[in-house]
């Protein structure tokens, strides 16, 4: 019984991290049809930046805000100066963003070095909670909480605000949205910035228990894409459900069938794609 509880909590906390990464990617993918391979770099740079801010200020909150802000600016610059020129051309986007992936990876190595690092846990969450025979780190519970809060926030944004309405319209039919007078160009920038912001938050939250190190950008990118595909492009709900699903399946898969651990992420994806080629909540 204890085993199951810990596995579920673990799967959910990891799933929340995946949700943070996939949410932004899914929106960017769905609305702008942009393939941003540097999304993982936002995670990595966010984590590293957070580490630096933390070293100077000793405040986790400041690190979170500072790094997220920094990466958001980076995202906006990338969108305005580069991606804007190649909308609608997925191959060129792939090449461009891959180039940035390399550039960011090398800059990160140059500035922060190659040794693996973790962000220290925020003050009140350094310990573990004991519930009977179960010991579970309280920080992971924080991750779940943060994920839920952001999830609710995004839902509210999408369903209850004008921005959200414009977003949904844009995802549905860009031409019509433009025709209705929606400033699609500004919308795109806002969405891209949001995606970068979420990835950076993921980088800091994840940097505590997954760590920041060369190669994390690539690993995280892969997982985020898997979640987006399973959940369906352009769907926040899909990113949430997909994140949880992948987090849980990965955890249980690795625990129950360790011989197939290498496949626990890809096999469910392949299965879902075989049944529903556009993902759980995606549009055809």
């Amino acid at each position: 019984m204890n085993f199951w509880i810990i596995q579920i909590l673990n799967g959910v906390s990891f799933g929340m991290l995946l949700f943070l990464l996939a949410a932004g990617l899914s929106l960017i993918f769905g609305l702008m049809k942009v393939l941003n391979l540097a999304h993982g770099s936002y995670y990595l740079l966010g984590g590293y930046l957070g580490l630096t801010v933390l070293r100077f200020t000793d405040s986790f909150l400041l690190a979170l805000l500072g790094a997220a802000l920094g990466i958001t600016v980076l995202g906006i610059l990338m969108e305005r100066w580069f991606l804007r020129r190649i909308y609608g051309e997925p191959l060129r986007q792939a090449l461009l963003t891959f180039g940035f992936l390399f550039i960011f990876a090398d800059i990160a190595l140059w500035i922060w070095g190659g040794n693996p690092q973790t962000l220290p846990k925020p003050g009140p969450f350094t310990g573990s909670i004991r519930m009977g025979a179960i010991v579970f780190p309280s920080y992971r519970l924080l991750v779940i909480a943060v994920g839920l809060v952001i999830g609710v926030g995004l839902w509210w944004l999408q369903e209850k605000t004008r921005l959200g309405a414009m977003l949904r319209a844009g995802v549905d039919d860009e031409e019509m949205a433009k025709g209705m007078g929606i400033n699609v160009s500004l919308l795109f920038t806002v969405v891209f910035a949001l995606g970068a912001f979420l990835a950076a938050v993921g980088g800091i939250m994840g940097g505590v228990f997954v760590g920041v190190y060369p190669g994390a950008d690539f690993e995280v990118l892969l997982l985020a894409f898997v979640v987006v595909i399973i959940g369906g492009l352009g769907s926040l709900k899909g990113a949430f459900v997909g994140g949880l699903l992948v987090g849980l399946i990965d955890n249980f898969g690795k625990a129950l069938v360790p011989e197939f651990a290498l496949f626990t992420v890809f096999v469910p994806m392949a299965v879902i794609l075989a049944i529903r080629p556009t993902g759980l909540f995606g549009r055809a």
Binding site: F29, L35, F82, R85, I86, E89, P90, L91, R92, A94, L95, L96, F98, G99, F100, L101, F102, I103, A105, D106, I107, L109, W110, L222, F225, V226, I229, L233, E259, L262, F263, F266, V267, M269, A270, L273, A274, P277, T278, G279
Partner: protein, 311 residues
Amino acid sequence: MRPALAVGAVGGLLFLAAPSFLSSYYLGLLTKMLIFALFAMSLDLLLGYTGLPSLGHAAYFGLGAYTVALLQLRVMKNFWLNALAGLASAVVLALGFGPLTLRARGDYFLMITLALAQVIWGIAFGWRSMTGGDDGLPGIARPTLAGSWSLAGETPFYYFVLVVCGLAMGLLSIIVRSPFGKALVGIRESETRMRVLGYNVWAYQYGASILAGFFAGLAGILFVYYNGYVGPAYLSIIFSAQVLLMVILGGAGTLFGPVLGAGIIVLLENLISAMTERWLLILGTIYVVVTLFAPQGLHGLIPRALRGHLG
């Protein structure tokens, strides 16, 4: 057409005469460029001509390589039979993966090809007793063809690769200019339209993926003899991503573009990393710059007069 033919002829002569003016290291590098050029062209058939972006193409490359390596180390040293088996294995894999992947399109196709390639990678990585696991299989000697033509030397092997790649490229050229090839382009432009016209779109896509797998497997076979070694890296996402980049950089859908892309990337990676530690940064910047200033890839930079028969 004249300038293109002239350039082609000069180019061909240069390739034939290469061993006389290139040292063994540079000749080896050129051999590597040719192998990757073939690999890239095989992907271009699928991506550039049929419009199916695969991020798992290394699966065929690696499987061809592993099959040949395993047969040579454990079963028999007959080069022709081993190579045939290697090609067959790549084709069989393509036959198997086709129905699984062709249900998806666009980014979903990207991911499912990735997933399937990862499964193959996982098997190679984990099945230690068979594949050597992450250590790989070293010690694969270059074959001796018919009689005493040993390919152990740099020059004979280069010519062998040149001939094989030349033939393969010629074949691919014919394929893309044939009605089959033209149909593929039509499918890339609009599947619906082609269906309405009565084409069995699925069959054409299947055919393209089998051919692409075949040529990728061929490149993999050449590569394993080139290095004398095979490892799970040959099946990895990195390899698949790298060949994808070569195609895009060179210019998808042009057949010759990917050749350029492959050559340039292999060359740059080796040259730049020899000069500075920040080679990743420079390479990434080059990709960004090419994207912005060469919308059709490197191929688009070739003056129209020269493109002629090559594109």
